[in-house]
């Protein structure tokens, strides 16, 4: 005897919704209102009432087409996956050269150059304490050092992201090496990372060297120089990552990044440059926190806003100017020292959010970054995570796979509104430069950082192994096999540096520094007085990184933090 199939009429939307609401309220208890990190209320369920197909063309369109929500290229990750760009930098130039060769031998095609903190601070190796040299990056001060970094490697064959805050001395040294090797500058490709001085003043005090007005001048000179001489170089990377790592919510970080990009674009336009020429070379860099859907929505909303901003504010007609190209890094702030292997799971979730957000380049953090500079094993797992997500989990088979989700589309629209509201607040005080001088973004970020920390302290936000699910007796972490540069090799490097300085033409060095100082004192935009051009010429004359920074600090003033607790 067969069972009779139960036939029920399809209920109407309204009555079904009412019934669900009743049942839901009966089960859910008093959960209160949930909000994401950006403060947006998150409902328990999203339906076609929140977002519907009738909005498809207005909100989404097709990949590579306006409004760019689904991605900046027609084929996105199906056509070409992202660049796997891990950071490289440690010890002497020889150490860097060895590591770079290992990466290239393993099939890598993109490099990165992370200099030592002494370089970030604008000093040469003989100006700082020996134990700090080369611990967090490579010590590169002279054209000879850069030549060693690229020993047996063609400077025109490798795209390099250089962590090189203004006045972009490392790029200048790279160009000097190219000149020495007869490689045309047109073949030099890569990105000036850490060119976004505004983010340094607002949120990351690691990188700034020159006072705010001078920084503004040098960046525009740099963009102008690159536009003329380096067609394959991205002179600007706008760093939302600093804002978010400093404590901005995801929506605030995106808004402040877009405001910063608007400021730079306005400054370039004021110099007389064409937005259709310089905007296609703008790139971005974002943090991916573990707030999964919020991060995907942040990146999609940012992409949609950027194409609108460049068209509405800058009249950009070149479709390449509409593309919101970005690198993303999984957030180290979310990683924990407690139960450190848990970080492997966190990084994977963050990376998935970035991939679904449509990134062009990805750095996955090593799980032990919160303990020390990453070990080799942890760095390998970070790369493997990307390979697993791409080739085992097949995350790249479909373009923007979450597009059309009632929740994600509603959230993307809400994030866009939040971001626009913050942009309007910055516009109201006269744009990003004026806002930074008045301390507005610093204040915003400081408050958000403290508010989030208070949520962790009160247990409102769970951090596994820290404020919940703690092990009764925390196992002591294994002593990390921390690598420190060889002190003998570093001392030899300093001796070589001193010999380099003694042997170069002192007359040429003095002349180059005089010319640089004169350009710095000329009115911004004076023909023939491009500060960056003089930096490059000085590097070719044997002037060192520290001397270049010192000269411009004398002329423009020292950078100082514009924020206090």
């Amino acid at each position: 005897m067969s069972e009779q199939p139960v036939q029920l009429p399809l209920p109407g939307f309204e009555s079904a919704r009412a019934e669900w609401r009743r049942d839901y309220d009966g089960q859910a208890g008093q959960d209160g209102i949930l909000r994401n990190r950006s403060g947006i209320e998150i409902k328990p369920l999203y339906t076609c009432e929140d977002w519907g197909e009738e909005r498809y063309m207005e909100d989404l369109g097709f990949p590579g087409q306006l409004p760019m929500t689904r991605g900046i290229y027609p084929s996105m990750h199906r056509g070409r996956t992202w660049t796997q760009r891990q950071l490289v930098g440690f010890g002497t130039p020889e150490d860097y050269n060895r590591r770079l060769k290992t990466i290239l031998a393993a099939g890598g095609t993109a490099g990165s150059l992370i200099p030592c903190n002494s370089v970030y601070r604008g000093y040469d190796c003989d100006e700082v304490e020996l134990p700090l040299l080369g611990t967090c990056g490579a010590v590169v001060n002279t054209v000879d050092d850069m030549d060693l970094c690229y020993r047996d490697i063609g400077v025109g064959e490798l795209s390099t992201a250089v962590n090189d805050p203004l006045p972009f001395t490392l790029l200048a040294l790279l160009l000097a090496v190219a000149e020495r090797r007869d490689v045309p500058w047109s073949r030099i490709t890569g990105t000036s990372n850490q060119s976004d001085y505004i983010s340094h003043f607002v949120a990351n005090h690691m990188f700034f060297r020159i006072a705010l007005p001078g920084s503004r001048r040098v960046l525009v000179d740099h963009v102008e120089f690159c536009q003329t001489h380096l067609p394959g170089w991205n002179p600007i990377s706008v760093v939302g990552q600093h804002m978010q790592q400093g404590g901005a919510t995801p929506a605030e970080a995106m808004a402040l990044t877009l405001c910063t990009a608007i400021q730079y674009a306005e400054d370039c336009r004021a110099r007389g440059m064409d937005p259709d020429v310089f905007l296609p070379r703008f790139t971005f860099f974002f943090d991916i926190s573990i707030s999964f859907f919020e991060e995907i929505a942040k990146l999609r909303a940012g992409r949609r806003l950027w194409q609108r901003i460049v068209r509405e504010r800058f009249g950009a007609k070149n479709p390449k100017a509409w593309r919101f190209k970005f690198h993303a890094q999984t957030s180290g702030v979310d990683l924990t020292r407690q139960q450190p292997l848990n970080n492997v799971a966190r990084v994977a979730v963050q990376a998935v959010a970035g991939i679904f957000g449509g990134l062009q380049s990805l750095h996955t953090d090593a799980y032990d970054e919160v303990l020390s500079v990453p070990t080799e094993e942890a760095a390998r797992i970070a790369i493997a995570t990307q390979n697993i997500l791409r080739e085992e989990a097949h995350l790249t088979d479909v373009i923007d796979p979450l597009g059309g989700s009632y929740y994600l589309e509603t959230l993307t629209n809400r994030m866009e509104e939040e971001i626009e509201a913050t942009i309007a607040r910055i516009d109201a005080v006269g744009g990003m430069f004026a806002a930074v001088e008045a301390g507005r973004p610093q204040d915003m970020i400081g408050k958000s950082a403290l508010a989030f920390q208070q949520k962790i302290d009160s247990g409102q936000e769970t951090i596994v192994g820290v404020n919940k699910y703690r092990e009764a007796e925390e196992p002591t972490t294994a002593p990390s096999p921390l690598e420190r540069p060889d002190q003998g090799a570093m001392e030899a490097h300093i001796a070589r540096f001193r010999a380099f300085k003694a042997e170069r033409s002192q007359a040429a060095v003095t002349a180059a520094l005089d010319t640089l100082a004169r350009a710095a004192n000329a009115v911004s935009g004076t023909p023939g007085q491009n500060v960056y051009e003089k930096v490059v010429e000085a590097a070719m004359a044997g002037v060192t990184h520290g001397e270049l920074c010192a000269c411009l600090r004398r002329e423009f003033g020292f950078g100082q933090p514009l924020v206090m607790p």
């Binding site: 967090c136 005090h205 924990t336 020292r337 990390s480």
Partner: protein, 145 residues
């Protein structure tokens, strides 16, 4: 306010700073806010302080505790700070460190006289209570010295 901060009057004076080359200051700013909220007098500096500058400020401001944040490897200079404090006749001042400090380095810092090393995830109450207790000890040592 924790009990330890009530136990001495005037309230503990704490210098929150960063030495060396790194500039990541989210942590030092949050800890400064914690201590201030707990009723302590906090003297906060920008990053990149020279050892001599920290000692000079500690003496001028007559602090009880110095908190040094280290996110790179700048804590390697802490033994130098301990020595410089001693030479300045300010050896009673307690020094704590916090940030990304590997276990091997932590042992070395404690041997050099650093009172305590905090790590990411160290609870707020622990930081506030420890600094308060150390301030009490520093005051007592100063009075006896």
């Amino acid at each position: 306010m924790s009990d330890s901060t009530k136990s001495i009057s005037p309230p503990p004076r704490v210098l929150v700073t960063k030495i060396g080359l790194d500039g990541h200051d989210r942590g030092s700013r949050i800890v400064a806010a914690y201590l201030r909220d707990a009723g302590m007098e906090v003297i906060y500096t920008a990053p990149w302080q020279k050892i001599e500058a920290v000692v000079k400020l500690a003496v001028e401001e007559d602090v009880d505790v110095i908190g040094v944040s280290s996110l790179a490897t700048d804590h390697l200079l802490l033994p130098d700070l301990m020595a410089a404090l001693g030479e300045a006749g300010f050896g009673h001042v307690k020094v704590v460190a916090g940030g990304i400090i590997p276990d091997g380095d932590e042992a070395e810092l404690l041997r050099a006289g650093v009172s305590r090393v905090f790590h990411p995830g160290s609870p707020r109450e622990d930081i506030v209570a420890t600094v308060g207790d150390l301030a009490t000890q520093a005051r007592a040592a100063c009075a006896n010295g």
